[in-house]
């Protein structure tokens, strides 16, 4: 019989290591919300594992009083896949950044999603390489001037939500480091999901890319520049909740609800279970033409990789019995030398 679990607090999840992010970094907020959210899962510390790649955000596991691994650049999804297959009893989180998951680790990122391994991946998107001191990243906008692009970046940026949709991820969400209530709630939803849950977090790098997401962070503007997705509800935004998104053919458009000519029923209603084409339209809504959706884009249930891998072991045993090496070695053609 298991004894009643002690009730944990955010502090119980803090390790004894000094945190070495730059003062003012958005990572602090994400760490705080994660620690605050974790006790609500009701899991003991030893059941939780954080796996990260390389980059500023990937130092995260060192600051958690759980099991953890700070692995190599881009590979955390692959490590976590192996761990989950070997140990489906563990609660696994992957911590990664835009460079880690979309550049050097792009391959592992999409394969994690198409397999639907049961874990939560938090993608700290600051649109810059911070640890290597300020080169452009795969999410940096075109034209961005950085140390490695003095005349401006010429690459078209990747959109993490679109990539996740393209790989048919079963749970996709977005939040903002400074919007702490929304962030904690989104992390909680992601952790409850069965399958791979991806949470893109807009994270400010105040040293190398300060203000990249200021439109979404500033309390003064964020109600007009972001749109909180709610399942089954129409897409409404604005400080006075007087603007909405309407679908015109296959094109979303911003409409005013102020004069009463457009009603709520005319708006696009959010459906987390919708076919991915519809979700793509949301992913493509970018600032400043549109408010950027935050919250859960997609939440569907599909088979989990490790359940199926392990299910095959079980059915093989059920069908053929547990393997016997001595029997196997002596199967087929053998001969005796006396």
């Amino acid at each position: 019989m298991s004894a009643a679990l002690p009730v944990l607090t955010a502090n119980d999840f803090a390790s004894d290591q000094d945190i070495r992010w730059c003062p003012g970094c958005g990572d602090y907020s994400i760490l705080a919300q994660m620690k605050k959210m974790l006790p609500s899962l009701g899991l003991p510390l030893e059941q939780i594992v954080f796996i990260s790649g390389i980059g500023c955000s990937s130092r995260f596991p060192y600051y958690m009083n759980t099991y953890g691994m700070h692995s190599i650049h881009g590979r955390a999804p692959a490590l976590a896949t192996g761990l989950r297959v070997a140990r489906p009893d563990l609660k696994v989180f992957v911590i990664t950044g835009d460079g880690d998951s979309l550049s050097i680790g792009g391959n592992h990122f999409i394969h994690l999603l198409r397999r639907n391994v049961n874990l939560t991946l938090v993608l700290f998107n600051n649109r810059i390489y911070g640890l290597t001191k300020g080169q452009y990243s795969p999410t940096s906008p075109e034209g961005q001037v950085t140390k490695s692009t003095p005349m401006g970046a010429v690459d078209h940026p990747l959109n993490p939500i679109s990539i996740a949709l393209g790989a048919e991820a079963s749970f996709i969400a977005r939040s903002v480091d400074s919007n702490i209530k929304h962030l904690a709630a989104t992390l909680y939803r992601a952790a409850q999901h069965r399958g791979t849950s991806v949470v893109e977090v807009y994270q400010n790098c105040n040293v190398f890319n300060d203000g990249a997401f200021s439109y979404a962070q500033d309390k003064a503007t964020r109600d007009d520049t972001t749109l909180e997705l709610e399942h089954g509800k129409p897409l409404i935004f604005g400080k006075n909740r007087d603007k909405g998104i309407r679908l015109n053919g296959l094109h979303p458009e911003v409409v005013s609800l102020a004069d009463g000519s457009v009603s709520h029923d005319d708006l696009l209603f959010h459906d987390e279970k919708a076919e991915s084409t519809l979700v793509h339209l949301l992913a493509k809504m970018r600032h400043p033409q549109f408010p950027e959706p935050i919250g859960v884009f997609r939440d569907i249930e599909i088979p989990i990789f490790e359940d199926q891998v392990r299910g095959q072991l079980d059915s093989a045993i059920a069908k053929r019995g547990a393997g016997d090496l001595n029997k196997l070695f002596r199967s087929g053609d053998t001969w005796e030398v006396a």
Partner: protein, 634 residues
């Protein structure tokens, strides 16, 4: 005696010979590999010692009839112990002109040359880039030529089944097989069983192949083309139950056995690559043994998923070949840093880059020893023969878990695809592999980088209360495992990791030598060249030369008595299928001016070239007393 195998007429002569080397050569896709495997199994079942050498192109179906598309399978079966598939051929079966001209050079003078006469038409010659038929060349006189209209005879044999021409012609290889079986007094039973199982869902094809096989046998018996048949008596192998085994299969079974002996579930992460993929195929069959195989998205994910599983407490294994190993290098460094047990298996092939995917080479030794950033030592073991892959796999996992370190196993294309009789072990009699995972005490600080007597750190697995800890690629503080940039600590940790690997030498058995314990020449070899080197040295000893053989399995660390052994001989010869990688290590470590014998042609050594080299480096006939065969622990 089988009731299914027809009896030879008493009229035909039977010559008793001690051993035979045969090569079957035809189009890739003609079923030469299948035939070779059948001949091997049948010969092994007859009690012969066997050694094989499949040699095929990298292309799956190279253009028909061309030289590039020739696929060959060589087998030596003998009434005595054999370590190699043989140098020169006693018989060559050539299914087309391309197969003939690309293989004839290996047939001994006076050897038997069997050709499919029907495939020497003008169009066949053209495909092989020949203007005249090689069968009309004067050099054919050097061989005993048997021209057999295999296509016509096969069509006749299967005629009443009403198969299409294409399907009928596909039975040709079994006709050839039947002839070879008659020639060498082989039993048809095992191959008939094989045909029945393989084509059980295609009764017509099954019947056709059976008829072709029997027709080939009958043809051999009645034709005047072959003067006599040959008989090879069973070899005297040590007592036991035997089966034929291929290197990749033995590797897979060794891994499964290691998992069983250690009570661990195996997690196997792999990405397809020639010539290692058969290990993935083999392990994937045995899910009822609790083996999780994951075909990863790339080589890096293959090893990283394995490291993740090892962190979770599983037996982690990944396999690849040279190009894939190059991709895994960074992750191997992580495994070195976080000190987790792991097996990385390299089935070597010709390099660099894509190189010669289906050909063998030994040129990855230095890559595996040194191909990582920083000081990142790992133990490296090398298997010497197909069956030896089994023992090497078990030993590697024993070392990995005792020392908490990733261990490399080197195999190569030659032993991976080659086969030999294997004395089946009783798994229950093998020594268990003991692994302890620590448990936590409340209030006690856990030190994930504390050390035992071997310098191994504890393998604490997630889910264990009170032992929560973080590992990673950044340098670790001795003891606590916290991130540390301290200069003295870094140096200390580099030394600890090196010493830990050096400590492996304490548990590996002393190196053995075959031949005189001191004298003129020591042949030092490693990996898949074992058979050729051993055979050549035994020949040298037979000739009265002062030569001994030392074959290494442990490439890092070396056995502790190796230096002493090397000092007992006037010179040391190191034959390798590379430009001298072991030689460089031996020279560096023992300051001995070892001589190399190096070939990089994508194929194994022939015994004769090594015999010649040994003769060149020894003075000739010695006092037989000093050359007496001895096996000793130096």
């Amino acid at each position: 005696m089988s009731t299914d195998t027809p009896q030879a007429h008493a009229a035909k002569q039977v010559q008793v010979v001690s051993g035979i080397t045969v090569r079957l050569a035809g189009d890739s896709g003609d079923g030469m590999q299948l035939l070779g495997t059948q001949l091997t199994n049948t010969s092994a079942l007859a009690g012969n010692d066997v050694a094989t050498f499949p040699d095929f192109p990298a292309e799956i179906r190279a253009p028909r009839g061309t030289r590039a598309g020739v696929s060959g399978f060589q087998v030596q079966f003998a009434a005595h112990e054999v370590h190699t598939p043989g140098d020169t051929l006693d018989a060559l079966v050539a299914m087309n002109p391309a197969a003939l001209v690309t293989n004839i050079g290996d047939l001994r003078k006076g050897g038997l040359l069997i050709v499919n006469e029907d495939s020497f038409e003008d169009k066949d010659l053209k495909l092989a880039k020949l203007t005249t038929s090689p069968l009309d060349e004067p050099w054919v006189e050097n061989y005993r030529l048997a021209k057999v209209p295999m296509t016509k005879l096969t069509r006749t044999a299967v005629q009443s089944l009403g198969l299409g021409v294409k399907e009928a012609d596909r039975c040709r290889n079994f006709f050839a097989m039947g002839m070879v079986y008659w020639l060498y007094g082989r039993d048809l039973d095992a191959t008939l069983r094989f045909i029945q199982a393989k084509f059980s869902k295609l009764p017509d094809i099954q019947e056709a192949n059976e008829r072709a096989l029997r027709a080939g046998w009958a043809f051999g018996e009645t034709t005047e083309l072959f003067g006599s048949s040959y008989q090879v008596e069973p070899a005297t192998l040590p007592k036991g139950t035997y089966r034929n085994i291929m290197g990749n299969q033995a590797m897979a079974w060794g891994l499964m056995t290691a998992a069983h002996l250690s009570g661990k579930e195996m997690f196997y992460g792999s990405y397809p690559i020639t010539p290692a993929s058969d290990i993935l195929h083999e392990l994937s069959k045995y899910k009822n043994f609790g083996i999780c195989t994951v075909q990863a998205e790339d080589e890096i994910a293959a090893i990283c998923s394995t490291i993740g599983a090892a962190y979770g407490g599983a037996m982690g294994v990944t396999t690849s070949s040279g190009p894939g190993i190059a991709l895994k290098a960074e992750a191997m460094g992580l495994a070195v840093m976080i000190e987790l047990p792991l097996l990385v298996i390299d089935v070597q092939r010709g390099g660099p880059s894509t190189g010669l995917p289906t050909k063998t080479e030994q040129a990855d030794l230095l890559q595996l020893l040194f191909g990582r950033n920083g000081e990142a030592p790992v133990p490296v073991l090398a298997a010497r023969s197909p069956g030896d892959c089994f023992d090497t796999a078990v030993e590697a996992w024993r070392i990995a878990t005792q020392f908490m370190v990733p261990v490399v196993i080197l195999s190569d294309g030659y032993i991976a695809n080659g086969s030999e009789p294997w004395a089946i072990p009783d798994v229950n009699s093998l020594k268990p592999i003991t692994i302890t995972h620590p448990t936590g005490e409340a209030g006690e600080k856990f030190l994930p980088y504390s050390r035992d007597a071997d310098l191994a750190r504890p393998w604490a697995i997630p889910g264990t209360p009170e032992l929560m800890h973080r590992v990673g690629g950044l340098e670790k503080q001795d003891g606590t495992g916290d991130v540390s940039y301290d200069a003295a600590n870094h140096e200390k940790m580099v030394h600890i990791r090196a010493q830990k690997v050096a400590n492996v030498a304490k548990i590996i058995p002393p190196q053995e030598v075959i031949g005189p314990s001191e004298g003129e020449l020591l042949v030092l070899s490693w990996g898949g060249t074992y058979g050729a080197c051993r055979t050549a040295v035994l020949k040298g000893i037979e000739e009265g030369r002062s030569v001994a053989h030392c074959h290494l399995r442990h490439m890092n660390p070396f056995p502790s008595n190796l230096g002493q052994i090397l000092g007992n001989y006037e010179s040391v010869l190191i034959p390798e299928l590379n430009l001298g990688q072991l030689r460089m290590l031996i020279r560096a470590k023992y300051l001995i001016d070892a001589v190399g014998y190096n070939r990089v042609q994508g194929k194994p050594f022939s015994v004769s070239e090594l015999v010649e080299k040994i003769a060149e480096m020894t003075s000739g006939k010695q006092n037989m007393a000093s050359s007496k065969l001895t096996s000793r622990a130096g």
